[in-house]
Amino acid sequence: MTDIPVLEITNVEKHFGGLVALDSVNAAVESGKLTAIIGPNGAGKTTLFNVITGILPASAGQLKFQGQDITRKSAHEISRLGLARTLQIKSVFNGMTVRENLWIAAQSRDGVFKPFQRASKSKRANETADRICEELGLSALANQEASNLSYGDIALLEIGLALATEPKLLLLDEPICGMGPAETEQTVAKIQELAKRIDIVIIEHDIEVVFDISEDIIVMNLGQILARGTPKEIASNVAVRAAYLGDDDA
């Protein structure tokens, strides 16, 4: 099992009309490493996540999750297989409480087509929701409507929604964007802790954080993978410095 990559991206392309957002992307994500994707605005990072998770169909290429072809699967099927993500533009279920948000994500594993069962009696989903509330420090807000949360707490709830589906692979799209310094520190620590039991790919603009937590960095630019390697290799890569880090003396 360990030798097949958890995620395999082969010649994936995505076109929006004439715009090539993903241009023949090839990458394999290995299990057990925290992988980061960096790159300037508009590089195609979020688009890559959208294509992987079935939000957008790939224009060409193939995607495999744990060896299984997911190229043409829909978003909910991919989620059921154990691939979860957070969204860059934070969006949770605003009119529902924090606990209800997490509850439905957990319940989706057991199925929701149970019209004659009482929702409040779903033991596993209740427990999962409470556990994740606690894990993310949202317990005090459990009965608050999500629309009342601060931006940082919404970002945490985003992660919570993904975790409640009990994923094997978690894609995080700029999870700490908009958080204060203390929250950032906590969340980064949380992500590192999660990475011990879940495979994580993180898109992040904060280079310091990326170099600090990841073991494998993919650099994207103009829909292509520009470079890939350990933080050390990336830091010394001339092309990356020129294209992304804005290093003029390169």
């Binding site: 829909s74 279920f93 529902m96 004659f116």
Partner: protein
């Protein structure tokens, strides 16, 4: 008193009123109001069907009258053309409406917002004109009358039939009550929460593993079933079926009732429907432009109380409760 208790009291009051109406109403108003009240109960189910889609799943249908009409024709054709008894005809009407909803839903719920609204109108227009022109089966313009079969017979002497006005009233009230009970059960189930989740954010819902399409289709079929029961009841009530009840005008009226009563509240449609039918009964023959007033009410409600009278009631109860003991109750268990 907790908000939940207040809501329970409200429901008990409504049930008591409904049970007592045949005796109590004639003490205060003309006895034809008993009939009108049973009509309100039936129509409220059509509004409830709109509310299930719009208030709980976020789909605005302007075509629910189609399923109401299917229920009506199912009963009338079942009795007048196929010689069915009371219960088989009732079952046939409801089945026809539900099946129609399954077929229309397969296409309609692929779309959202105005595209969804438009396709529901288109569907109901197609069948409206079909019903009008298919004279041998539907009676066309004249509608299809039938004579009421008994609900239940035992030997020669015991015979239960809706021709008895008291039996008719309680039959309608009981059936409508059962529909709301069923709706309440479904809404507090995992499926009911999935409805709300899809309404809140369909993209996010699919990312946590909900099959949004199937959730919407299920809701559409449930809504078709409720409208079908309403239509079947209305056929029994009027002892005929007519294409005019399938017209999108009727669908639109149900949307208005649901919005004024309060979308996303279980019993809002009963309030909205009753209020507007009373308005119609009282005003339409005194003032021919009374619809202007209805229109103004709708605009005021949409602007100032987007969750309708039901929403105002919830706000009031919650505010009183939080003033008393500082608790706020927003769980769906109490959203009645």
């Amino acid at each position: 008193m907790t908000p939940t208790k207040v809501h329970q009291l409200g429901i008990i009051a409504l049930i008591v009123f409904t049970v007592a109406a045949p005796w109590v109403l004639p003490l205060f108003v003309d006895s034809f109001w008993v009939d009108i009240y049973s009509e309100m109960l039936i129509w409220s189910l059509l509004a409830a069907s709109v509310n299930l889609l719009f208030g709980y799943v976020g789909l605005l249908s302007f075509g629910q009258a189609l399923f109401f009409g299917m229920g009506m024709y199912g009963v009338a054709i079942g009795i007048a053309k196929m010689g069915l008894g009371f219960w088989p005809a009732f079952g046939f009407g409801t089945f026809l409406a539900t099946a129609m909803a399954a077929v229309a839903g397969v296409f309609a719920v692929r779309l959202t917002w105005h595209y969804f609204a438009i396709i529901t109108v288109v569907f109901s227009l197609i069948f409206y004109f079909t019903a009008l022109s298919w004279k041998p089966l539907t009676g066309g313009d004249d509608g299809l009358p039938f004579s009421m079969p008994p609900i239940f017979t035992f030997g020669e002497d015991v015979k239960l039939s809706l021709t008895n006005t008291t039996i008719q009233y309680y039959f309608i009230a009981l059936t409508v009550g059962l529909c709301y009970t069923l709706l309440a059960i479904v809404l507090r189930s995992p499926l009911g929460r999935a409805f709300r989740t899809v309404k809140e954010n369909d993209m996010r819902a699919s990312l946590i593993g909900l099959n949004v399409y199937l959730v919407r289709l299920t809701a559409f079929i449930c809504a078709g079933f409720i409208a079908g029961v309403a239509g079947s009841l209305f056929a029994f009530f009027g002892r005929y079926a007519s294409a005019s009840y399938m017209f999108y005008h009727v669908s639109g009226e149900a949307v208005v009732w649901a919005i004024i009563g309060g979308v996303g509240t279980l019993l809002g449609p009963v309030v909205g429907t009753s209020l507007l039918i009373i308005l119609r009964e009282e005003l339409s023959h005194v003032w021919e432009h009374y619809l202007l007033l209805v229109g103004s009410i709708v605009i005021i409600v949409v602007i100032f109380a987007p969750r309708g009278l039901g929403g105002l009631w919830h706000g009031l109860v919650n505010r009183l409760a939080s003033r008393n003991d500082g608790t706020l109750d927003s769980s769906e268990e109490t959203k009645l």
